[in-house]
Amino acid sequence: MPETPITIQFEGKAVPCRIDATVAAALWEHGLRVLSHSPKYGRPRGLLCARGHCMNCLMRVDGVPNVRTCHLPVADGLRIERQDSGAFYAPPMQKLLNTTGHLLPVGFYYKWFTRPAAVSNCFMKGIRPMTGVGRLPERENWNGDSPFESRDFGRLGTVVIGAGVAGMTAALEADDDVLLVDDHPDPGGQRRAALDRIALNTPDVLAGLTDLDRLHRDLGSLASRVEDHDGIRFLPNTTLVGAWQPDMLLLRNEAGLIQLRARRVVWAAGAFDAMPLFEDNDLPGLIGPRALYRLLTRDGLTVRGLKTVVWGHGADLWASASLLHASGAQVTLALDDRASSDGALLETAHRFGWALQTNTDIVAASGRDGSLDHLELTSNGARHEIPCELAVLCVHGKPTYDVPYQLGVDLVLDPERGGFVPRRADTAATGSVSVVGEAAGMGPLDVLSEVSP
């Protein structure tokens, strides 16, 4: 079997793909990293969240618009097109838009050309064609992937969303039957998959990072207990797509939609990657650690020989660096001012040949052909560049707040915990909803203290 047995068509070009790849990952490997352009300034955009949240990977697939290609498995003969390609977004036009963009201040379309009425009407007519993202599908594509399957699971006891440490712990501690849901194939989710890959390929690395090693073993033992537990049903490769009061949830996986009502919901879905703010922070090639875990363990991305940088602090920094190393990439570690200066950690970095810088801050990202080419940082005052095609930015994740909010949990903005979190520990459990783990603002290693020995 050839390594890349599947061929998709990208704007007329044949792209060979690995069998387990997503479309976006396959394109990325082939050097096709600009998947779309931003609506106002035409800025190049590429893989970012790998989770179906953002709009960067929206492309037209077999005539259907706005398809999230970060989630779409490759299939032979798939026709992929960017939705906004053409001369309008060629580099000279982009330069023009980016330079003159400040002449179109935010909200300009509210304030300009209001007088006289005829001009106002003309202006409205004129800007209308410039709005909107995808184009309506052609008649033969109106049905999309029909028919759509849907199942009703009825009224369940406890539903736990997220099978990381906190989710698995909650499932094991529940006193009724549990439906445990995760978007990864196995209990332990994306972090366990990432740590498994590191343990498999470079066990010495993991041994040198004792906290991650312990996390890995705990994830493994929790996963075994979950798999052995008769009262826990694990639903893999399944995403929660909607929550409606009082207790209605909608899940989605390859087999279709699942409707259910839950007497008790445990929200353990972790955090979003937080992307820091700096110049050109939206270049393709800048991602967060959670996207990295998914891309490398589930979406079929390979990074052999790729120049990468891991910037920031925390357990996710070390896990990302190790995962990249275990996957054959070249790693440069750029620690920020919040990173631990634990000697053992730095020792591990040196031992495995990761270039290391401390006390850095990102000033800007710089691109070539629309994709990341290097990072500009300051380090102890001195400014320098690190060439790289992929940079993983590791800061405290943003707790996933949308479902807790919709199910009535009282949230408050707390930057120390990464974003909107339950106001108090006791309000983290509101009637039938509780928020645990990273979704409640904890760090990835903090959740370990909840694990029973």
Binding site: C54, V106, D280, Q406, L413, D414, F420
Partner: protein, 106 residues
């Protein structure tokens, strides 16, 4: 010209957000609608926290004083075709006991 992007979906830069604040939009609900932050395809997953923190800094208040804007279902966009395939759930009033006075019109 390089830009620091606050909201990717609507292409709102940090500078533009600050300018809208200076223009008199001082709450997240109106800032959101005027600038577009949080109203695009990702519905704020990529920018609402950052926008709220920036607003707290501009107003000179504690982050805890900035309430979250209304986050609406669904969590992820669903096609109309998929939704149409579901059974129609009962009214919310039948799913729970109403705690308000209602009078059904004839």
């Amino acid at each position: 010209m390089s830009k620091c992007i606050l909201c990717r979906c609507e292409d709102v830069t940090l500078a533009e957000f600050r300018k809208a604040y200076a223009d008199g939009f001082q709450e997240l609900e109106s800032l959101k609608r005027f600038t577009g932050v949080g109203t695009g395809f990702c519905q704020g997953k990529g920018c609402l926290v950052e926008s709220a923190l920036e607003l707290a800094s501009l107003r000179g208040v504690a982050p805890g004083d900035i309430p979250l804007t209304n986050i609406r279902p669904p969590v992820l966009p669903l096609t109309f075709g998929e939704l149409a395939s579901l059974d129609i759930p009962p009214l919310i009033g039948e799913l729970e006991l109403p705690d308000h006075d209602t009078e059904v019109s004839p």
